[in-house]
């Protein structure tokens, strides 16, 4: 990996710890992934002994941007981690942070050609887990789960989300190796349990017993789909695969819900993402990490995602029992080398075939 290009923006000055306030901005507070992000941010705040503010975007870009701006206006030096509601939110947020002399790391969504090094030191990094990888891993698992033959349906997230689009691309790529598995239809379910429930209900009515598997771009939607399939009385015949391994999913996999209905998952954690993002910004703010010296890989980073099947489930459940412990490790090892979410490559992510 190469070192970053010219750093525009003001020269990086070390900010005393007392002046710093950590800010974690999440999309909402009622999704387990987001709740986990908040948990990670809190753990880091405790570990570093730096105050923390949470921004709840409530699903709205407008709310997100205005609240972040409001906090910037308070005058403290802001160290920020944002899980953007939409990719297009990244530029205005970054610009505002830069103007206020804060440091920001963005998680999950940003425009592809909006690179940290073209903005300057204040946009420390962009971080995500690769979506294609996630889609491949759950796609493969699902295809195998239904015996390499049959029909599946897919529930992507919000239509214009790159996270969802890359995961679907991964799924489609994986299915190339399973010619007898047919993707009947995709119905976007907006990352929402309730919508996924309804869409699955409709698709079940449409395809009836033809459906052998359900793929979802994240677990909230899978949980909605599972409920719909349960109510249609087909929970023992349908397999599921999705991304995120939410706590209820763990329970279901462990208990062998249905006829071991959940066959594939990925492991990555909101608390890991939030703590990693915040810590990266924090290190830049305190000057412990010279942004100008960071590699491009470190500034537009892909972090490792792990494929989970019922067989290897136990390897991952151990992390969730000790969030503080993991955050301690993070502070010890730095943001790029803490298992299981280590830096594995540079973004932007390439779609298969392009």
């Amino acid at each position: 990996s190469t070192t970053s290009g010219s750093s525009t923006g003001a020269a990086q000055e070390a900010i005393p710890k007392e002046d710093i306030v950590l800010v974690a901005s999440v999309i909402n507070l009622t999704n387990p992934y987001m709740a986990s992000m908040v948990e990670g941010a809190k753990a880091l705040s405790a570990e570093l002994d730096v105050p923390l503010k949470i921004v709840n975007s409530n699903g709205s870009s407008q709310t997100e941007i205005s609240q972040i701006q409001a906090i910037l206006a308070e005058g403290k030096k802001v160290v920020l981690m944002v899980n953007t509601v939409a990719s297009s939110d990244a530029p205005p947020i970054v610009n505002a942070v830069k103007a206020a002399g804060g440091y920001v790391t963005i998680w999950w969504n940003k425009p592809d050609d909006f690179e940290p090094w073209t903005v300057g030191d204040n946009f420390v990094a962009f971080q995500k887990h690769p979506g294609v990888e996630s889609g491949r891993c759950t796609g493969d698992a699902l295809a195998d789960g239904i015996g390499d033959e049959g029909n599946i349906i897919a529930l992507p997230g919000v239509q214009d989300s790159t996270t969802s689009q890359t995961r679907v691309a991964g799924l489609e790529d994986a299915l190339k190796d399973h010619p007898n598995v047919k993707l009947l239809e995709q119905r976007p379910a907006n990352w929402d349990q309730q919508i996924a429930f309804k869409e699955t209900q409709s698709l079940l009515a449409k395809y009836g017993d033809e459906i052998d598997g359900v793929w979802a771009a994240d677990d909230a939607m899978m949980l909605g789909a599972i409920e719909a399939v349960k109510k249609a009385g087909r929970i023992d015949d349908v397999k599921f695969a999705s991304d995120g391994l939410y706590p209820p999913t763990i329970e279901m996999m462990k208990s062998g819900m249905g006829d071991d209905a959940i066959v594939g998952e990925t492991f990555h954690r909101g608390y890991m993402a939030a703590a990693t993002g915040l810590y990266t910004s924090y290190l830049a703010a305190t000057g412990e990490l010279k942004v100008a010296d960071m590699t491009k890989e470190q500034r537009n980073s892909l972090f490792k995602i792990s494929c989970v099947t019922p067989e290897n489930l136990d390897e991952f459940t151990k992390y969730d029992t000790d969030v503080e412990g993991w955050v301690k490790q993070l502070v010890e090892n730095g943001p790029f080398d803490t298992e299981p979410a280590t830096l594995i490559g540079q973004g932007p992510e390439k779609l298969p075939g392009s």
Partner: protein, 341 residues
Amino acid sequence: MSDLKARPAPDAAPAAPASASRPRPRIRGVGEVAALVVLVVVFAVLNPGTFLTLDNLRTVLDQAALPLVIGVGATLVILMGSIDLSVEGVMGAAGMTFVLLSANDRNGLDLGLGAFVVAVAVGLALGLLTGLIHTLLKVPSFIVTLGVWYVGLGIATLLFGQAAIPFLTSDGLTSWPSDTTLGLPHSFLLAFVVVALGALVSRFTRLGRYAFAIGADEQIAQDNGVPVGRYKLYVFALAGGCSALAGIVGSLQLGAGAANVGIGNLFLTIAAVVIGGTALGGGKGGVLRTALGVVLLTVLNNGLILSGVSPNIQSAVSGVVLIVAIAAAGWAYRGRLRIAK
């Protein structure tokens, strides 16, 4: 926000003296029924073998259940000339309350039927709050209920806290809505009962009749001795109760607590009320017409999915059908003096 001009042409009365013969029956909702029939035929032709199946019928009825229940309250509110935007918030608050007080994996509470009662009470209370603010402070219902929407979501968010999704642990409970009796899902049967009660209330009780009176002209109703404020309060409370019930059923369907359990129901229900022919200006319409509107929209949605219409343009197709259906139903009544708002 629409109504036909109330004024009759005074001299246009039939030449015969207004005799004591029964008033001519009004044929209502023909356009809507026709639209429904057309939709069913079109979808049946497009999707032979999938649309007109028992399974699909059950799906449609199950999906219609929530808007049907909400529609009863929404219709009564709209009949009064007000509007209730708080539906999704109240559903969230009541649904979350219900889940947290039933057998769930978050806490040890299990009030059984008590959970149901408390959750409905939460809805009634939010409705009552709406009504109180609306009548005492004279804030337009549009704004009060918009505010209560957020308040309801806020309550749901607070109840959700930061722990994991609360799941209902009793399978008997969660499977209740989709279990069938006489081949029909319970969720729909419940909705049916609620709609029937709603129709009876609006026809045979003071509450219902006063809603019509208030919608026709609040001032005149007041002058005629209708305690307008009090009945508005009742109706908003009732609407809150309906939303709460829908929130409970929605949570049962999901098998879990979700703050946005009501997502998408507001506009769907109001569209159904309008398509059914209840005037947004108040005073005209009815619960049964709303039920027809709900069925129409649910069939439309279901049919579009079965027909494989791309999700990207589904909202456009729904939009066009909505406009065309209402335009067609009202085409004969267009007139230069008609006020559409």
